[in-house]
């Protein structure tokens, strides 16, 4: 079986506990087309994809490939459904060739590498792009890795390729390249593509049709030619009231509050990740750090937050060395919020209420007589935070690991920006996984912190976000600051080049 296939999802319903993730969702992707699924976070896009692939069994409805029902991952694989995830699923220490061969499900017990490589070379002759089979995956750039993922699916003779936010880890140029390849594959009638994304620009440029989901329900499907970005956006949001954007008050930034001096930090493998980096954050400004992930931003944030040892250099707050101890954090008012908060900023097995109390539980009113824990006070504070930050949780006693990513993000933001906001907030990708309304909410909180004279160091992979709220933007590349510009003089093309490490 080769060539593209037709996919139908008929009246799919899926429930998790009390949450209706999908309800009566229909999707038809004619053979050999490029179909985009858009929707806010929590709209059910990923759940739908997992239903298509058989990872989730829908409570209602049916998935068909060329008219044949598909209900388990094995059936989906046999029928030719394949998926590319947002994060790479390649083994970094192996070569491209090894990754491609090991992805096969029908491998013999003993590999004849000579034969396998012969087969790979024949396959590559007809591939849409070339890549060196002997390169180790860890030495490839992000865009190339994503291309290897696509190559892998072609090698597995996938007929319908589902991609879940495949470009979120790529630079704009890399993203366009990958999208162009996908588009060409569809045009050559090599496969059908289902693209899950929130980048409407990509949808308009590369897809044939688009389906909009909202809160687990199908809203609209149409051809891309007959719609527009504003129309799709309004369909995604529905009539949910958008928050008023906090006005950025004009203010001149004050003196330096956070100084990073010649900081070097080692990464997970003991290699330098942050290299002799110096940076100054002033009072009353939002300083954005742009860059493709993996250029030392994670290690920088961890070093400031006390989660990673500093190899050399220093972090100073208000002129004094800052070591991230509880006393330092409290006196200087510096909160750090790394990305992937469930793993990095919460205790997954503890309740939502306890996690919200993580910064304050040892102070009055939650601490009585200095050592007794007032669980009532913890619960009251949590109830207020859940209300104010619209955290969707069955109860404040639910372990936080049971919450969706967006709601974990809200919970940690409620903790850090809630009752006792800091003077300095160091935050990485705070809106990753949040919907429009919540993103606006977070941006407002950060802008208000700034308007009140506070400072924000905002590490983000989302240039739009930085352009929207940052006063100053620096680009981080290969562990160093590669470029700096103010909000007014920002040139996207230049920033993009620095992000790609081309200058």
């Amino acid at each position: 079986m080769h060539g593209p296939a037709r996919v139908e999802a008929i009246c799919i319903g899926k429930t998790f506990g009390p949450v209706r993730a999908l309800e009566g969702v229909n999707l038809t992707v004619p053979s050999g087309t490029f179909h985009a699924i858009v929707g806010e976070n929590g709209a059910g896009k990923s759940t739908l994809a997992k239903c298509l692939l058989g990872f989730y069994r829908p409570d209602e409805g049916e998935v068909r490939l060329d008219g044949v029902p598909v209900s388990t991952p094995a059936e989906a694989r046999r029928a030719g459904l394949g998926m590319v995830f947002q994060h790479f699923t390649l083994a970094p220490s192996l070569t491209v060739a090894e990754n491609l061969v090991l992805a096969r499900t029908d491998l013999p017990a003993i590999l004849n590498w000579k034969k396998e490589k012969e087969r790979l070379r024949t396959f590559l002759e007809h591939a849409p792009f070339q890549i060196n089979l002997e390169d180790r995956v860890e030495h490839l750039a992000a865009g190339q890795k994503q291309k290897v993922e696509i190559l892998k699916q072609l090698y597995l003779e996938t007929r319908v390729l589902i991609l879940d936010e495949p470009t979120s880890v790529l630079t704009p140029a890399e993203a366009d390249e990958v999208m162009t390849v996908l588009n060409a594959l569809v045009r050559k009638e090599a496969l059908s593509v289902i693209l899950i994304t929130h980048k409407l620009r990509e949808v308009m440029a590369f897809a044939d049709d688009v389906t909009v989901l909202r809160r687990g329900r199908w809203v609209a499907s149409c051809s891309v030619g007959s719609t527009s970005i504003p129309e799709i956006s309004s369909l995604m949001v529905g009539n949910a009231p958008l928050r008023e954007q906090s006005a950025r008050t004009d203010m001149t930034a004050g003196g330096a509050v956070l100084e990073i001096q010649n900081l070097s930090v080692l990464g997970d493998h003991g290699l330098p990740a942050v290299k002799d980096l110096s940076l100054t954050l002033k009072a009353g400004e939002i300083l954005g750090i742009a860059g493709v992930s993996g250029n030392g931003q994670r290690e920088l944030v961890q070093a400031i937050g006390g989660q990673r040892d500093i190899a050399s250099g220093e972090v100073r707050v208000a002129g004094k060395p800052f070591h991230g101890t509880r006393a330092d954090i409290r006196e200087c008012g510096v909160f750090t919020l790394p990305e992937e908060p469930l793993q990095n900023a919460t205790v997954p097995g503890m309740s939502v209420a306890q996690n919200i109390a993580l910064r304050t539980f040892d102070q009055a009113p939650t601490a009585k007589l200095g050592f007794l824990l007032d669980r009532g006070a913890i619960r009251r504070a949590a109830t207020a935070a859940v209300e104010r930050f619209s955290i969707r949780t069955p109860s404040i006693d639910t372990p936080i690991r049971n919450l969706s990513g967006g709601n974990v993000q809200r919970a940690v933001l409620a903790r850090d920006l809630g009752a006792r906001p800091p003077k300095i907030m160091v935050v990485a990708n705070p809106c990753f996984g949040l919907d429009f309304a919540a993103t606006g909410f977070v941006h407002n909180q950060l802008v208000e912190l700034r308007n009140g004279g506070g400072s924000v160091l905002l590490v983000s992979e989302d240039l739009d976000e930085l352009m929207k709220i940052a006063d100053r933007i620096v680009v981080m590349s290969d562990g160093r600051i590669a470029h700096e510009s103010t909000r007014a003089e920002l040139d996207l093309a230049v920033v993009g080049r620095y992000m790609g490490g081309h200058e």
């Binding site: 998790f16 506990g17 009390p18 949450v19 993730a21 976070n41 929590g42 059910g44 990923s46 759940t47 937050g305 006390g306 989660q307 991230g324 101890t325 509880r326 006393a327 330092d328 954090i329 409290r330 750090t336 790394p338 793993q343 990095n344 900023a345 919460t346 205790v347 997954p348 097995g349 503890m350 309740s351 306890q354 109390a357 993580l358 910064r359 539980f361 040892d362 601490a367 200095g370 050592f371 007794l372 824990l373 669980r375 969707r392 949780t393 069955p394 109860s395 006693d397 639910t398 372990p399 049971n402 919450l403 969706s404 990513g405 967006g406 709601n407």
Partner: protein, 358 residues
């Protein structure tokens, strides 16, 4: 602690014990004894009479303390199995302190033994916890090896410098005068070690669930990265938890010396430390559950002799049961987070959101 964890905390040990009982029954049938009869004997020997109850409680006392020895560091994220070693060095230190203060009043002597046992036992496990935190040495391995060192140290000292020349075939230290030993709870054969055990469990629960320090400890154990992020002194927390755990085991050793043997000898290493590991895991590291589980395992230990007498089974049969229980509990850890279907049975509407992406 959330309701889901509470539910699992009960359901998983019950499933594990059930499985262990089933396997044990097969074993009994295999060696020609009636499984029902054996289980009935265990029950009678453990809880059949006031006499039996006292036997069980006597054995439960050291188990409570030894259970805490694994549970407290485990709550801070350090798994240790050095209970037997801490028990032995605690007992040894208590004997030394007791013998040094026999000239004083009994209460002072006992207080010195109490302190010496707790401090030395605490330092023992703190060493393993510190090696893991500061040097990356796996605390399971280091504390396991410390057990051998502790027992070797005991043998070395009671056969050498601390030996009472009158202890001929069975080397031991000089005995403590009867007046300076730990007495019995009036009207029973049970020594005050049981009070230590119960109080320690209740204190442990209070510390973990109701104090700021307990919350710090659980944050450190739940996610070290989050603990660092909010500026908690991870090293100090881990060392303190190790010390408190070890202090409990050392205290159990002190009780063994001060209430049972009246002196330190090889006999104090009777395996309570090892069974304490089982107690901690069966209790899922919760001090309150340790109270209950210790009583059950105390009864099982108490029934060893009875099995020998009535079913002609070897004394070690009970060890088979312990081993099976340990295997089952370790295997049942895999059930954590997967009991949603059971929760659904008991609660019409599950509160779990699973991995629904909202």
């Amino acid at each position: 602690m959330t309701s889901e964890q509470n539910f699992e905390g009960v359901a998983i040990p019950v499933i594990a014990i059930g499985t262990a009982l089933l396997l044990f029954s097969l074993f009994c049938a295999g060696v020609g004894a009636s499984p029902g009869g054996v289980l009935a004997s265990i029950y009678t020997a453990g809880f059949g009479s006031w006499y039996a109850w006292q036997n069980s409680l006597l054995r439960a006392a050291p188990l409570m303390l030894c259970g805490l020895a694994t549970a407290l560091p485990a709550q801070a994220g350090v798994i240790t199995v050095g209970n037997e070693g801490a028990f032995v060095v605690g007992g040894l230190a208590a004997a030394a302190a007791g013998l040094a203060t026999t000239s004083g009043p009994p209460l002072l002597c006992l207080a010195a033994m109490f302190l010496a046992g707790a401090v030395v036992g605490g330092a023992w496990i703190m060493l393993a916890a510190g090696l893991q935190y500061y040097r990356g040495v796996n605390a399971v391995i280091s504390s396991l090896l410390l057990n051998y060192i502790g027992i070797a140290l005991l043998l070395q000292l009671v056969e050498g410098p601390m030996r009472d020349p009158d202890s001929l075939n069975f080397p031991a230290t000089f005995p403590l005068p009867l007046s300076h030993q730990l007495g019995r709870i009036p009207g029973t054969r049970i020594h005050y070690g049981l009070v230590f055990g119960v109080v320690a469990c209740l204190l442990g629960w209070f510390l973990l669930e109701r104090t700021v320090w307990g919350m710090k400890l659980k944050i450190a154990g739940g996610n070290a990265r989050a603990a660092k992020l909010v500026g908690l002194p991870l090293g100090r927390i881990v060392l303190t938890a190790g010390f408190l755990g070890g202090a409990c085991a050392g205290l159990a050793g002190m009780v063994e010396v001060a209430a049972i043997h009246g002196r330190a000898s090889q006999a104090i290493s009777a395996g309570y430390g090892y069974v304490g590991i089982l107690v901690a895991f069966l209790s899922r590291q919760s001090p309150l559950r340790i109270l209950v589980v210790s009583l059950i395992l105390g009864a099982v230990l108490a029934s060893g002799g009875s099995l020998q007498r009535t079913h002609d089974l070897p004394d070690a049969t009970i060890n088979v049961f312990e081993g099976l229980a340990f295997l089952s509990i370790l295997a049942s850890e895999a059930l954590a987070g997967r009991l949603g279907f059971l929760t659904a049975l008991f609660k019409p509407v599950s509160t779990e959101v699973a991995d629904a992406k909202l």
